[in-house]
């Protein structure tokens, strides 16, 4: 032990290795290690297969939204209206399904499909408005998506009068909320599909690469024959689409259309992305890390639940975590730019 501590050169080497990992992938590995140690110490139930499976299942929704949020962040902006997209999807699709299933009681799946499409359409409208504002009118993404999120939330509440839309077709909740395929929960399958598609999109397609280029330096991208407006539009549309998908899954899970679904998810998804090394300045970020980042957030929430931290205190800690992640992002960016 003493030989180890006195050897400063190995300490130094370890420090530089730590720094390299930090510059490469960001703060996530360190946070994950700390969280695992702390929560394992606090609760014996934390590090069990059962609990981790539980976390994996619960994290599906945040993973999905974070994938969309990542796209907005990499394009150089962010999307505060993901929660609204979820709420609006939930309300619109539920209303649609309830109404349609009353009209066509014999064609429940038709009602479900059309209702779902209506919800997706509503969310895409949100994405479209965001995209047009950011890409064509060059409104700052912060203001644009904040404004849209208020508009959307207001509409969702207006449509339902603040009362949850109930009496959804049972088949919807049974399949997408609690259903299993090959023994795997359906939401997990949906998320896995989305992860794979996003990974292929970001690393293999021209459009995905364009998002990186636009976020890195939009003027340079413009001078490299990239349609920057179309690319930005696309980022916000896909972000809304994925949020909408999450909204459908959540609606199926709670078996009602609710205007307050996704209330904290904008903050959580941004935290997940930033912790996972997605730069707030755009241009940098990886799908696989974002998945881990979202998983990490849910893991921390789960650990805090097991450690019986009150939900109010959890909000405090989550906000602090986000700020901490942003500070580390700043440090990392400085290291990248100075080349050390």
């Amino acid at each position: 032990m003493s030989a180890e501590t006195t050897n400063t050169s190995t300490n130094n080497a370890a420090f530089y290795r730590t720094k390299r990992v930090f510059v490469r992938v960001g703060v996530l590995p360190f946070f994950l290690a700390i969280a695992l140690i702390v929560f394992t110490a606090l609760s014996s139930k934390f590090l069990t297969g059962q609990n981790l499976m539980n976390v994996a299942r619960q994290s599906v929704y945040l993973v999905l939204v974070s994938l969309g949020q990542m796209l907005a962040l990499i394009s150089g902006g962010f999307d505060l209206s993901v929660g609204t997209a979820i709420a609006l999807t939930s309300v619109v699709s539920a209303t649609g399904m309830v109404w349609l299933s009353a009209v066509f009681p014999d064609a429940i799946w038709l009602a479900i499909t059309i209702g779902a499409l209506m919800g997706i359409g509503a969310a895409l409208l949100i994405g479209l408005v965001n995209g047009v504002g950011v890409a064509y009118f060059e409104v700052s993404p912060f203001i644009m998506t904040l404004g849209v999120s208020s508009v959307g939330a207001g509409l969702a509440l207006f449509l339902t009068g603040g009362v949850p839309v109930s009496d959804l077709p049972f088949a919807f909740g049974d399949t997408f909320g609690f259903g299993r395929l090959w023994g795997i929960p359906v939401p997990v399958i949906v998320a896995t599909f989305c992860i794979i598609i996003m990974w292929v999109f970001m690393s293999r397609t021209r459009l995905g690469t364009q998002v990186y280029a636009v976020g890195g330096n939009i003027k340079a991208a413009h001078l490299s024959a990239i349609n920057t407006r179309k690319t930005l539009m696309l980022a916000y549309m896909i972000c809304a689409l994925i949020a909408s998908l999450t909204g459908l899954l959540l609606t199926a899970r709670v078996e009602s259309g609710e205007a307050n679904l996704g209330g904290t998810i904008a903050l959580e998804s941004i935290a997940a992305c930033v912790i996972a090394g997605v730069s707030l300045r755009g241009g940098i970020g990886r799908v696989e890390n974002v998945v881990l980042g979202a998983f990490f957030i849910v893991l921390v929430q789960n650990g805090m639940n097991l450690a019986q931290v009150s939900s109010y205190m959890q909000m405090v800690l989550l906000g602090m975590l986000l700020i901490l992640a942003v500070i580390f992002d700043q440090l990392r960016y400085r290291m990248i730019m100075s080349g050390r």
């Binding site: 021209r206 990186y212 003027k219 340079a220 001078l223 490299s224 349609n227 940098i284």
Partner: protein, 502 residues
């Protein structure tokens, strides 16, 4: 004149981890002298002045102020001892008024409150003394860059100024403003103030310099009196090679008209018409603000197009989007690699990959990037622009200006292009890199491409172009070729105030 130098360095060195930025420099500045520091980027000029300015601490060696060994704690400390530096990056706050900027940290007070009236009056007084025509209550952001520079210089006159350090002061000035600055410098000389002057523009040295110290790779190559030297000798000292090795000869086989510009109009310009032919280098000379860059930005669709017509190989591209114009075969290399050219936080390879990707290089499945082909292509491009193997996977932000410029240049080779528009392709680039970029320009022209070379560097356009258009006051004032392409001719048309065209 006394013979104690105002400032002197003895064996001044600066060691950074792994790099010796400055190697035992002996330098001195006499009262009433303009001493030019000359050298390539990274030669150590900035390091040297940063230590004289108090922004940086030497690793070894000594700085003598009026013969006394001195140690500057900070820039403010150096200013207190009469050494004032005007850096390239201005220290002005754009949203404040000119007077507020000048008195930032020195505000005259009336009780606990700032006395704005006294501030304006004193600023006006200082401007009058220095013969600067600037309104002290104007908001700084509304001034031209030249005027901002004058404000920056005015700030130096709070204290007891004895050494003025100017870092590339003329980089963004028009010639008339340069004249003004030089008159002013002569004034200062007469008052016994010593001036350290950093510039790349050799044509300026004959007008103001007394002595020139040449640095290369952190070492002092020599100090010469201006009267005893000439441009060729200076370049040789700076680069270690002769001037004829820098500019290649470019064979001229003028082909068809590639780009036909007819009466193109934008804000601040008169309608311009000219043609760019295959296999030639068309030089575009002019001062900053002459419109030489704006006309091409207009053609590319980066500025509003208010009229006229542009044809590319017979096709009308007057109203096409920038993207469509690039795809049709015109490449515009931005003069501002940080803001418009490169994605600094990404590796060189990724920066180079964007253009071939957008050209859909070898896409097997539509919309899917063929990374294997792209990686081969970026490797070939990096070879072509002579970017060292070790730099290719490094982030652009970590490279020197010269290497960054090579990456920016490399982006031009990512797709099929017929007309290359290089806007200030060698700005802030050392001679070695310049020579490499010039060879690339030669290869392009000799391969039958059309090259437009927009440059404020007169020797560069004169040596490389087959034909030369001179811009002044938003219009073409001369079209020169062959023997008429001389420095005198170009300079004459720079100041063509009468409006007569050649």
């Amino acid at each position: 004149m006394t013979n104690i130098p105002l400032v002197q360095t003895i064996g001044l060195s600066k060691q950074y981890p792994g790099v010796l930025a400055l190697d035992e420099i002996d330098f001195d500045l006499m009262p009433g002298e303009v001493h030019v520091l000359f050298g390539e980027n990274g030669a150590g000029k900035s390091t040297l002045i940063s230590m004289l300015a108090g922004a940086n601490v030497p690793s070894s060696g000594a700085i003598l102020r009026d013969g006394q060994k001195s140690h500057f704690e900070s820039v403010a400390d150096a200013q207190k001892r009469g050494i004032y530096t005007v850096f390239q990056e201005f220290s002005l706050i754009p949203t404040l008024s000119v007077a507020q900027n000048i008195f930032l940290g020195w505000e005259p007070r009336k009780g606990p409150f700032i006395d704005h009236r006294a501030m304006r009056q004193r600023a006006a007084q200082m401007f009058e003394e220095l013969e600067f025509d600037i309104d002290p209550s104007a908001i700084t952001a509304t001034l031209s860059r030249a005027q901002q520079q004058m404000v920056e210089i005015t700030k130096a006159f709070h204290g007891d100024l004895s050494v003025l350090i100017l870092d590339e002061p003329t980089a963004s000035l028009t010639d008339r403003e340069v004249d003004h600055l030089f008159r002013f410098i002569k004034d200062l000389k007469a008052r016994g103030i010593g001036i350290i002057y950093i510039s790349h523009r050799m044509q300026e040295f004959a007008r103001i310099a007394d002595r020139i110290t040449v640095l290369r790779d952190g070492a002092k190559i020599g100090t010469v009196a201006m009267a005893d030297t000439n441009d060729g000798a200076l370049v040789e000292m700076m680069t270690g090679r002769a001037i004829s090795e820098i500019y290649p000869r470019i064979a001229q086989n003028t082909g068809d008209v590639f780009l036909k510009v007819d009466q193109v109009l934008t804000t601040g310009l008169h309608p311009c018409s000219f043609e760019v032919n295959a296999g030639e280098v068309l030089g575009i000379a002019g001062l900053v603000g002459s419109g030489k860059s704006r006309i091409f930005r207009t053609i590319m669709g980066l500025n509003p197009r208010l009229g006229g017509q542009v044809e590319l190989a017979g096709c009308d591209i007057t109203k096409s989007s920038t993207r469509a114009i690039i795809e049709a075969g015109v490449y515009y290399l931005s003069p501002d690699r940080k803001h418009e050219g490169l994605d600094l936080a990404k590796p060189c390879n990724d920066n180079l990959a964007v253009n071939p990707m957008m050209a859909r290089l070898d896409e097997k499945l539509r919309g899917f990037v063929n990374w294997i082909a792209i990686r081969q292509k970026t490797g070939a491009i990096a070879d072509k622009v002579e970017l060292s193997e070790g730099y290719r996977s490094k982030l652009v932000s970590q490279l020197s200006g010269g290497n960054q410029q090579k990456v920016l240049f490399g982006k031009a080779f990512g797709q099929d292009i017929d007309v290359y528009i290089f806007d200030e392709p060698t700005v802030g680039v050392d001679m070695g890199t310049r020579a490499a970029l010039y060879r690339l320009i030669r290869d392009l022209a000799e391969a039958g491409k059309a090259v437009v070379l927009i440059s404020s560097d007169l020797p560069e356009v004169l040596n490389l172009s087959h034909r030369l258009l001179v811009f002044a006051h938003g219009k073409i004032t001369a079209a020169l070729s062959g023997d008429s392409m001389t420095e005198d001719q170009v300079l004459k048309h720079f100041f063509d105030e009468t409006g007569a065209t050649a």
